[in-house]
Amino acid sequence: MSTASTTGRRDVGPALDGYNPARRASCPAPPGLESPAYYRIGAVTVCLHSADARFREPFHHLYQRHYIGGPTLSAVHIRVDRIIRVRPLGRCFRICVDGEERFLLRKPQAVLPHVEWAINAAVAATLPRYHQLHAGVVARDGFALVLPAQPQCGKSTLTARLISRGWSYLSDEFALIDPETLSLDPYPKALCIKEGSFEIVDAFCPAAGALPSYEKSWKGRVRLIDPQALRPHRTPWGIPVGMIAFPRYVARPAPTLHPLSRARALFQLLGVCFTFGRYRAATLDVLGGVVERAACFQLESGEIDATCDVLEAAWRAHVPTSGRPDPADLTHPEEPVRPGVEAA
């Protein structure tokens, strides 16, 4: 039984690292991967427990660069089991997060995106230290471009195109703000591209057309794309925010970018802040500090490259080059502590 259906397959030429289905078959998981397997995905450490190779191996191939093998003191623990429920599902797949049941799924094609969904929910609910925004984040010249938005606004597609145009990737889902430095740390998860954007992404990343698509509940079919396949690059850490653009997709070719007052930007950031309920008034101080240092815009995005052109023009006009070292030279911080899980 296959783990996912493949749509839109075509001749894609030489596939990029991590994307070649043939390579996938010839690249078995390392010994000892069976269960559990630990991955440090930027600031988020994940431990996948699954005896089922249909999920374990695709997950590993998406995150093999982040594989750390042995156990760590802190991690989000994801377990995928095959179970039988008398009603209503019968035989089904169960996804648990830190021991708590999160999803019950009938189809194996739905498991991997729901694993990703479960990790995201755990990050939003439990990752300590950071103030978290629902946003895509990329970086250039030592500064970050933050794209905060609700779902279905085109964050991931725009983020993917920016990566392929030379930006470095931090996340397509979370802006993780260190409250002490007001800088951003990465969570470079696989980009989750919805079916409506498959053709757009295929146009600038032909290898993506050969990727399997998965079922993600009401969100429809999705593809999970390794950001390194869009353009090999190092993941930056500790990046200050240079620009914030709130994207909204409008079905017209010409994108527009309107300056936004910093107070308005702060207000809109609060609307996409996962941790506002946790940190409450302190959130205003942190996000207020972020917007004071950033150029803020409302983006009505259109055709993808025209949108990137508009963003990059504004970036050149409003964000100074920092003279910071290349992100590839920045050292990685210590692993963030997530108390209460596997604590000694």
Binding site: S261, L284, G288, G289
Partner: protein, 97 residues
């Protein structure tokens, strides 16, 4: 924070001012309100004043304008703040009609 200032109008409401505008946070209701420059101007005059005419008079004195001119400019903002129940919260008491 270098430019944005933060202070309390009354016990319940926290105001985060940025440039001429503000974001107001009510921790009790866990609710935020964005105030553009006009709305923030009204907000600053409300404290201790419940009556529209008195608020407009304070604004007119501050801006050196006629009261009716000020009223025509700020009345929609003041009405919106009353509609959202913010006048009462700024005063630290239930809103009176």
């Amino acid at each position: 924070m270098p430019e944005a200032t933060r202070w309390r109008i009354c016990r319940e409401v926290v105001v985060h001012r940025i440039d001429d505008e503000a974001v107001v946070y009510d921790p009790g209701a866990h609710e935020v309100l964005y105030l553009d420059a006009d709305a923030f101007e009204v907000f600053k005059q409300v404290d201790g004043t419940r009556d529209d005419a008195a608020i407009f008079l304070k604004l007119a004195q501050k801006h050196g304008e006629r009261t009716d001119e000020v009223a025509s400019r700020f009345a929609p903002v003041l009405a919106a703040m009353r509609r959202h129940g913010w006048i009462g919260r700024i005063l630290g008491a239930d809103e009176v009609s």
